[in-house]
């Protein structure tokens, strides 16, 4: 039995999330700063303080006088990191390497005195930390590689993207969440499946295949997920590397000033506020992808969440903070579904609520999420819809509660469509498979079911 499992089963009362997380962080920083291996890999479950770790490691490396490059995957992630670095240490000279497009970075960076921005790496030479996207770094040429690098969201980075930038640094800290969506390619890459350097595999897969002895760490505590969500997400998506929530059952509360009107959306909101989960179940039906009824139901739930003047209490502050549109997100599987939900929300006069696909919600955090189930109303379950990471992202963005809108009959659909992906020789089989994870989540959601006929 692993140490983690012992902690989970044995000494529940003795589990101190703060101390556990601090111990893990200390070990990671020690290996990063004083280790002998060229790389350190950190697995981080949703909301486990990955960004905080990256910022801290960056500051410590900079303090130790080691020139550092940071590789993130999207411009939004890069800007976010730069803002966090500047917030922690406004004096630190940080370089933001950006593209030569119009509006290449967040305007908020202009107000930071320590941050220099340029489209040319040469302009940023000598700065303590230089941050950019993998795509931009790939165009950079250097004579002398950086002493150190941090690769953020390394599980979402493709192997070929790492190949393009790995020559720029001597050693690196790789941080990411193995449970989120795997990188993908729009063209088939089956001919390379099973090769250790399969270009469409994730960067960490390739890295570990070639360097199996690299130290691997794990952040053990999710600070985002509430006590109601962490066990389910941990069991369903991280069965062999469990994690805990940083808060206890009573630490987070979601209350509403306006009482329920007894409608389906209101009942599911109350269920989710009380238990952390709610399943609004519409009658079984095969529908097009942008199922108008389900889309309207999603919009209605969001509308009621706002109308009922929600207030969220958490460990962060003793006072309740109002549940504003900015604290709510809607997650879907497809872009056209997101567009349909946006249109439905606009029709109800709702603005400011984030509506996006699982891919784009990765790494984001909200108080309440409303999810259109990827399998709702479908006649079949394809590999895309069964993908473990997709459901994991959708089910792990919230700090308080998650409402899932779904048509009845998904359990039958799952039984009719077991995963049938061809087995590729030489590739590591990922556990759990999406089929199993979907069943696990659905079984839990059924306990918080609110049937509704709109």
């Amino acid at each position: 039995m692993t140490a983690e499992a012992l902690v989970r089963t044995g000494a529940d009362a003795a589990f101190d999330p703060g101390a556990e997380a601090a111990r893990a962080t200390a070990a990671i920083l020690h290996d990063t700063l004083h280790g002998t291996e060229r790389g350190v890999v950190v697995d981080s479950p949703p909301g486990a303080g990955k960004s905080t770790l990256v910022v801290r490691a960056a500051l410590e490396l900079a303090e130790a006088g080691r020139p550092l490059m940071v590789v993130a995957q999207t411009n939004a992630q890069v800007d976010d990191l730069v803002l966090r670095l500047a917030e922690k240490n406004p004096e630190l000279p940080v370089g933001r390497l950006h593209s030569s497009d119009a509006d290449p970075y967040d305007k908020a960076l202009d107000g930071l005195p320590g941050v220099r921005k340029s489209a040319k790496a040469a302009d940023l030479a000598g700065l303590a930390v230089v941050v950019s996207t993998a795509a931009k770094w790939a165009h950079v040429k250097v004579d002398e590689p950086w002493r150190h690098a941090i690769v953020d969201e390394a599980y979402q980075m493709r192997s070929d993207a790492l190949l393009a930038v790995a020559g720029l640094f001597e050693r690196a800290l790789f941080v990411g969440d193995p449970g989120q969506l795997d990188p993908f390619s729009v063209v088939g890459g089956e001919q390379w499946a099973g090769l250790s350097y399969d270009p469409s595999a994730s960067a960490v897969t390739t890295l570990l295949a070639h360097n199996p002895r690299l130290p691997q760490h794990r952040l053990p505590v999710s600070w985002r997920l509430p006590a109601s969500a962490a066990p389910l997400v941990s069991d369903a998506f991280y069965p062999f590397t469990p994690f805990r929530s940083g808060t206890g059952p009573g630490d987070r509360r979601l209350t509403f000033a306006v009482p329920s009107d007894g409608s389906g959306p209101d009942r599911v909101i109350d269920e989710a506020a009380a238990s952390g989960w709610g399943l609004l179940e519409l009658p079984a039906r095969r529908t097009p992808r942008t199922d108008p009824e389900a889309v309207r139901a999603v919009a209605a739930v969001v509308r009621r969440l706002l109308d009922r003047e929600g207030a969220a209490r958490s460990e962060r502050s003793p006072d309740a903070s109002p549940l504003t549109p900015a604290r709510i997100a809607v997650g879907t599987a497809h872009r056209d579904q997101a567009a349909a939900v946006r249109a439905a929300l606009a029709a109800l006069g709702v603005t400011g609520v984030t509506v996006d696909t699982a891919n784009r919600l990765q790494g984001r955090e909200y108080d309440v999420t409303v999810v259109l189930h990827p399998l709702s109303g479908r006649p079949d379950a394809t590999a895309f819809h069964l993908e473990t990471g997709r459901l994991c992202v959708l089910a792990s963005r919230h700090r308080h509660a998650c409402v899932v809108v779904c048509r009845e009959g998904v359990d039958d659909l799952l039984d009719a469509y077991p995963s049938t992906e061809p087995v590729q020789l030489g590739t590591t089989v990922k556990f759990p498979d999406g089929w199993e994870a979907n069943h696990a989540v659905l079984a839990h959601l059924t306990q918080h079911r609110v049937p509704w006929r709109p």
Partner: protein, 531 residues
């Protein structure tokens, strides 16, 4: 499957005929394509049974292997195939035109233009189905490492002279076929499936006979009836009227016709080997020839319908005019063809069994870029394809209802006119999302500003208006113009340059070792190789 193709398939079911999915032809068709209709032995995918090959539809060359398990006969088949295919490739490789290419100067490292040869045309190979493309790859894989007696006098079973060269070309064609939009090696079912939507599933579209039945049904029959007949109808002896396009054969044919014929051939050969004198041998040799002729006739009877079907498909496709960007993509195929020709001439070893990390990443990047390029070019070339993108919310067309001149901020105000477009389409526009339209073949970008009312989209044009304060004439749409904007980019940026294979970083296992520098040895012979 996109919404428009689903609708087209429903329409095909209702009308009983395949519906056009395009208004132009999106793949290059050579004037003299080399058509290859291969067959393999059931249960032994790498054992060819025969083929029809050639560039003249009335005079195909028949190749047949009377005993597919006999390695000598298999090599004889491959030698004959090389004899049929390589002269066609050589003929194309000889005719060149001068072209320019930018290359890094080996001394200064600067990008300079160098004059190089570009083959004026490349040899195009057409097979009936996707399984045929796989067989081409397999044949390439199994022959390109073979050694001829000239290369290695010690080789216990030397390959006929041109067979390894054939393997290298087949491998190149098989790899190139994986690049979206390339036309060097095409499967007829893919070609027809791209240009027509039938009333059956895409899986059923893999049957060339059924696919053609939907597209061009015989007089008086509906596509569905004709397709069913093509798939299932059998003659009095239980043989399919429309034999499968291969390379696999119908089991009823294997069991009742081919199997007995091969047995007769085997018996005749055994008898010949046991002949005691010349006279007897002569007589028995006649029996062997007769048995061989019988098998050749059987192979011909199964390949000839497919051969005709492929040419029928070519006729149908040639009726469509070529899309505007097809020639551009074919030029890329010609570069690929020329590049391979040059590698062979310069004496490079055959393609390795597995790509190294850098080659694999480069190939994947190329294919992704070509995929995006192909999707954009097809939409720009073809209003019907664009309609599909509009229906999917990835493009919109409409009339310009208003143009307001505005200027950008900055020291030198540049024109940033606001254009209002009225459209019935429902594009999935994001705030400040970029949209593009084609302006004289070049993409002009605009930014989505707001939706001013139901179906009224306000856009800000941001480039291609010249350097002056006033936009160049014709560069800004005018009121009443019909415009079509896409949410996807029209041209693809080149990706970043990857390191050289010798500089593969530690994360990817470091440079491929010294072993990779020497050509790979062929697979060692096993007992099963020599029956």
């Amino acid at each position: 499957m996109s919404l428009i193709s689903t609708l087209a398939r429903l329409e095909a079911v209702r009308t009983g005929r395949a519906q056009p999915a395009t208004t132009v032809r999106h793949r290059h068709l050579s004037d003299r394509p080399l058509v290859l209709v291969p067959l393999v032995t059931a249960g032994e995918i790498g054992a060819p049974l025969g083929a029809l090959v050639g560039t003249d539809r009335d005079a195909p060359r028949l190749l047949a292997v009377p005993q597919p398990r006999d390695r000598d006969l298999r090599f004889a088949f491959l030698a004959e195939l090389a004899d049929a295919v390589l002269p066609h490739i050589d003929a194309c490789a000889e005719v060149v035109e001068a072209a320019e290419r930018t290359e890094a100067d080996p001394e200064t490292g600067k990008r300079v233009k160098v004059e190089v040869e570009l083959c004026a045309d490349a040899a195009q190979v057409i097979v009936p189905s996707r399984a045929g493309v796989d067989l081409i790859r397999l044949l390439g894989r199994s022959t390109r490492f073979r050694r001829t007696a000239e290369q290695d006098p010690e080789a216990p079973f030397p390959a006929p002279p041109r067979v390894p060269l054939l393997g290298r070309w087949l491998t190149h064609y098989g790899e190139r076929a994986r690049v979206p939009g390339s036309s060097l090696l095409l499967a007829m079912t893919d070609l027809l499936g791209r240009h027509w939507a039938t009333g059956q599933s895409t899986l059923e579209d893999q049957h060339l006979g059924a696919l053609l039945a939907w597209i061009d049904p015989p007089e008086g029959a509906s596509g569905a009836e004709a397709a069913l007949r093509a798939e299932l109808a059998r003659d009095a002896e239980g043989q399919l009227l429309c034999p499968p396009a291969g390379p696999a054969t119908d089991p009823a044919f294997d069991n009742h016709l081919l199997g007995p014929a091969i047995e007769r051939y085997d018996r005749a050969r055994t008898a010949l080997a046991a002949a005691e004198d010349g006279l007897e041998a002569d007589e028995r040799y006649g029996a062997v020839s007769a048995a061989e002729r019988e098998i050749r006739a059987l192979v011909l009877s199964r390949t000839r319908p497919t051969w005709d079907a492929v040419w029928h498909g070519l006729d149908l496709l040639r009726r469509l005019p070529a899309g505007a960007h097809v020639a551009d993509r074919w030029t890329r195929d010609r570069w690929s063809f020329t590049g391979h020709r040059d590698r062979i001439v310069s004496g490079e070893p055959p393609q390795p069994r597995r790509d190294d990390a850098v080659t694999a990443a480069n190939k994947l990047a190329t294919r992704e870029r070509e995929q995006a390029r192909l999707e954009a070019q097809e939409a720009l070339d073809d209003p019907l394809v664009m309609a599909g993108r509009r229906l999917a919310g990835e493009a919109f067309a409409g009339e310009v209802t208003d143009v307001v001149m505005a200027y950008g901020e900055g020291r030198r105000p540049s024109p940033r006119p606001l254009v209002t477009v009225r459209t019935d389409d429902r594009p999935q526009l994001a705030e400040r999302g970029k949209v593009y339209r084609s302006l004289g073949g070049k993409p002009q970008a605009a930014e989505f500003v707001e939706e001013a009312g139901e179906g009224l989209l306000v856009l800000r044009i941001v480039d291609k208006m010249g350097r002056g304060r006033e936009p160049e004439p014709g560069s800004v749409p005018e009121k009443g113009d019909l415009v079509c904007f896409t949410l996807f980019e029209h041209e693809q940026r080149g990706g970043a340059k990857l390191p050289d294979p010798e500089a593969t970083p530690w994360t990817h296992g470091g440079p491929p070792g010294e072993t990779a520098a020497v050509p790979e040895a062929p697979d060692p012979l096993t007992e099963e190789d020599v029956l």
